[in-house]
């Protein structure tokens, strides 16, 4: 059972729909015991960093995330959930969870795209990932596969946590973490078959970890 972390930050049903389609058991929950007994956590991101952190702290879920990831519970952060695992976000000047060292940054509106035109912000649409280190999430996903992004801030973790990068004006980190604690800036639940494959790769990892314990 995967726990989709409910921190009252908007609509979390699109991740659940994707997992339902894949036949992966899941629940949208904020209950620490349910999260602890589940085999992995999906931390979806909707909304702004400040509001999200406020809800996480008020509900004590920030501590739950620290405890569970320290115990080796697999975690997958998505979009805002990718930025919030870092130490700091300039969005609402927010101290974030600090599960992975680094911060996030806003896209610079002076950057230009492949046509030499100023980039649009948010970065919205389908873009590619260049893996910088082996990552289990991408098992059996073609190198040329594209994923769906919608964001104005991007993660900038310390170099050893950069797993994949994407080009938008400049190269930025789009996949980060370490084995068992991953975060992706794009939306796998909206990225067609490659995105669904990534979600099932995460679930496979969760099952292995749960089976080994």
């Amino acid at each position: 059972m995967l726990s989709i972390l409910d921190y009252r930050a908007g609509n979390l049903t699109s991740v659940r729909r994707a997992l339902d389609y894949l036949g992966i058991p899941c629940t949208i929950t904020a209950d620490p015991q349910e999260i602890e007994s589940g085999s992995g956590i999906i931390f979806p991101g909707v909304g702004a960093a400040g509001t999200a952190m406020h809800h996480l702290q008020a509900s004590g879920l920030d501590r739950v995330l620290h405890e569970q990831t320290q115990k080796g519970k697999p975690l997958l952060g998505i979009c805002l959930g990718c930025q919030i695992v870092l130490d700091y976000s300039p969005e609402n000047d927010t101290r974030t969870l600090g599960l992975v060292p680094g911060r996030c940054e806003r896209f610079d509106d002076q950057w230009t795209d492949g046509q030499g035109l100023p980039i649009n912000i948010p970065h919205m649409g389908w873009n590619n990932i260049r893996l910088q280190a082996p990552c289990r999430l991408f098992t059996d996903i073609a190198d040329e596969a594209a994923f769906y992004f919608v964001h104005s801030y991007y993660p900038a973790p310390e170099a050893e946590y950069v797993l994949g990068t994407t080009e938008y004006g400049q190269s930025f980190c789009s996949v980060l973490g370490r084995p068992g604690l991953w975060a992706v800036q794009f939306h796998p639940e909206k990225s067609g078959r490659p995105g669904l494959k990534l979600l099932s790769n995460f679930y496979q990892y969760c099952l292995e970890v749960a089976g080994a314990q």
Partner: protein, 259 residues
């Protein structure tokens, strides 16, 4: 590099896919959920649904379509038609749509853009603009005027001014439909598309006039659009989405080729 998007547009009436034929009214051309699923499997990058159901009572039929689509396709899709309040927006977003699109409602009540952006984030709010070419004047310096009701009602609003205005109010994207080009199959209105795309910092979807894949390539190269909306060119099997993408790819346009 960010790929250019190909977006099929589906008109839905009373829960069925429909096509308006001049002087003949609307004809049923299939099931919207099956069609959306087919386009998803063929590599559409996004899908747009317009609810053109006349009566408000039948809204639940459309929301049911949205929910069924959301459980079967895993790419973003937006929903337009019949959205005139934040509650209307919430209904379709909660039913599983990624974005909502407002057109004449935004012209009549521009505050709706801010309200929607504040409630759900700018990335959810697409503003549709129907534009007609007119003689440049003091009121319409760009020579492009905002119209509603399929072009029957002139609003006395300059399209370039309106594009900047909807961006300022928090729109996340503009769907730019040329009434002059719509239905011609002669290609998108490239002058208009480029004028708007160059003067806003949010993505512009070109709409109206697609007849060949080359037209779509032009919209995103010469026209500087981020995406091209298509309808009859795929609905009647003239081209499939993979064929369109292959042709665009061969012309050097970055498009998503694996799905």
């Amino acid at each position: 590099m960010l790929n250019k998007r190909i977006i099929p547009c589906l008109d839905v009436r009373d829960g069925r896919l429909t096509k308006g034929i001049k002087f003949k009214g609307n004809i049923d051309i299939g099931d919207p959920v099956e069609t959306a699923q087919r386009y998803y499997e063929q590599g559409a990058d996004e899908i747009v649904f317009y609810d053109i159901t006349a009566s408000h009572e039948k809204r639940s039929i459309f929301l049911d379509v949205v929910e069924r689509v959301a459980s079967k396709i895993f790419i973003p899709f937006s929903v337009g038609g019949g959205i005139a309040s934040v509650d209307d927006m919430r209904q379709v977003l909660w039913a599983g749509a990624e974005k909502i699109s407002i057109n004449s409602a935004a012209v009549k009540e521009p505050g709706l853009i801010e309200q929607g952006a504040a409630a759900f984030g700018s990335q959810c709010i697409v503003v549709g603009m129907d534009v007609l070419r007119v003689a440049p004047s003091e009121t319409i310096p760009s020579g492009y005027e905002i119209v509603i009701h399929g072009g029957r009602k002139h609003m006395g609003i300059d399209a370039l001014w309106w594009a900047r205005e909807v961006q300022r109010r928090g729109a996340g994207e503009i769907c730019l439909n040329s009434i002059d080009a719509d239905g011609t199959k002669d290609g998108y209105e490239l002058t208009l598309t480029r004028l708007i795309a160059d003067n806003v910092r949010i993505p512009v979807i070109a709409s109206g006039g697609a007849g060949t894949p080359r037209h779509m390539a032009e919209a995103v190269t010469t026209g500087h659009a981020s995406a091209a909306l298509i309808a009859s060119i795929v609905h009647y099997g003239q081209y499939t989405i993979p064929e369109i993408k292959q042709i665009m790819h061969d012309q050097g346009v970055p498009v998503r080729m694996i799905w």
